[in-house]
Symmetry: C2
């Protein structure tokens, strides 16, 4: 399998370079497990699918902790047929639609319930794209059933689903949606996600 | 059909609210043709698929023209089976994989060649997701053939394709990729795109 993410941090601040550089050390514990490449649009992280969301969570919490309005945007992918398998991406456990939907929903809820709280409130929206199979809406609807019981479900939006809560369970929910739904282990799934903290337009 | 986009502007500035509010009037000419809704994460525009990218282009050029580093991020969709057809989304012309790939590539190149230049240089990367059919990689590879001849192709990246050039042909290229590739007119296609201007990390 091949799995990774194109990740970008957008701090709404004149000091956006300082905020980004100050947050990068949060990735240090993950560096031995990842290939990392940066250009002027994003940073590519390639590694085990289970570590992608914890790494993005730690990066985002580090960038947001000073109170600056920040957004993290990422395109996450597993199983893209355009990329050869890479040992660095070997999953730590089982990935994909390997068991019936109801069992996966239970496992996903349990993983979110066990997620550590970070103290950083966030809002997020995301879209999950199961690619290359005919019944993609069944997997989407099964994932939505999980999201509604995740404890961080906010509301459906057009083309995406909105979450709100502590960064710990929110990133865990995104990770579970990505890992357990959409396609078999060797199938192709992509996710488009945005996470926001400290927004002044947050409704009360 | 149902078509629209969740759009967000990220100005990397202490005055991000002022930059966003100052750019919104660029959407005024499109307002009679769109339904528009805003929350703390994004603005939803719903309307004819051919007008989505011109509207985003005008919004982004207005936000970037002062020299602030800005990113526009959007999730664009047509034909999502979760949404009923809406008259406001009636296409202005033919949309989707209605003719053989080589013919669509020629039409797409011609549309980009005719795009007006805006004077704003941008970099972009995007992913096109044809949903609900088995041969999605054929449409992706056909679209890549078009991109390579678009005049704004920069390079392939993992999980996405990078463009660079004037905002006029870049947004036209994104629009053509969205409108002409991926699925028939009634099929489901999504695009995840990021456009950046005035980045200090732009390589020389």
């Amino acid at each position: 399998m091949y799995s990774g993410a194109q990740v970008a941090l957008y701090p709404m601040s004149d000091d956006f370079v300082g905020v980004i550089l100050g947050a990068l050390s949060a990735l240090d514990p993950y560096r031995p497990k990842f290939q990392i490449e940066t250009d002027d649009l994003s940073t590519l992280i390639v590694g085990p699918p289970e570590l992608l969301f914890p790494a993005m969570r730690d990066l985002f919490v580090a960038a947001s902790s000073g109170g600056i309005h920040c957004v993290l945007s990422a395109t996450v992918s597993r199983g893209c047929p355009g990329h050869p398998d890479d040992d660095i991406c070997t999953p730590l456990g089982s990935v994909g639609s390997v068991s019936p939907l109801p069992e996966r929903i239970i496992s996903a809820k349990q993983a979110v319930a066990e997620a550590a709280v970070t103290g950083q409130d966030v809002a997020a929206h995301f879209s999950l794209y199961p690619l290359g199979e005919g019944q993609h809406m069944d997997e989407i609807y099964g994932c939505i059933d999980f999201l509604k019981e995740s404890g961080v479900f906010d509301r459906p939006k057009n083309f995406c689903t909105k979450l709100r809560g502590d960064a710990g369970p929110v990133f865990a929910t995104l990770s579970e949606a990505f890992l357990r739904f959409g396609a078999p282990e060797e199938g192709h799934v992509a996710m488009d996600m945005k996470i926001s903290a400290n927004s002044p337009s947050r409704a009360a």
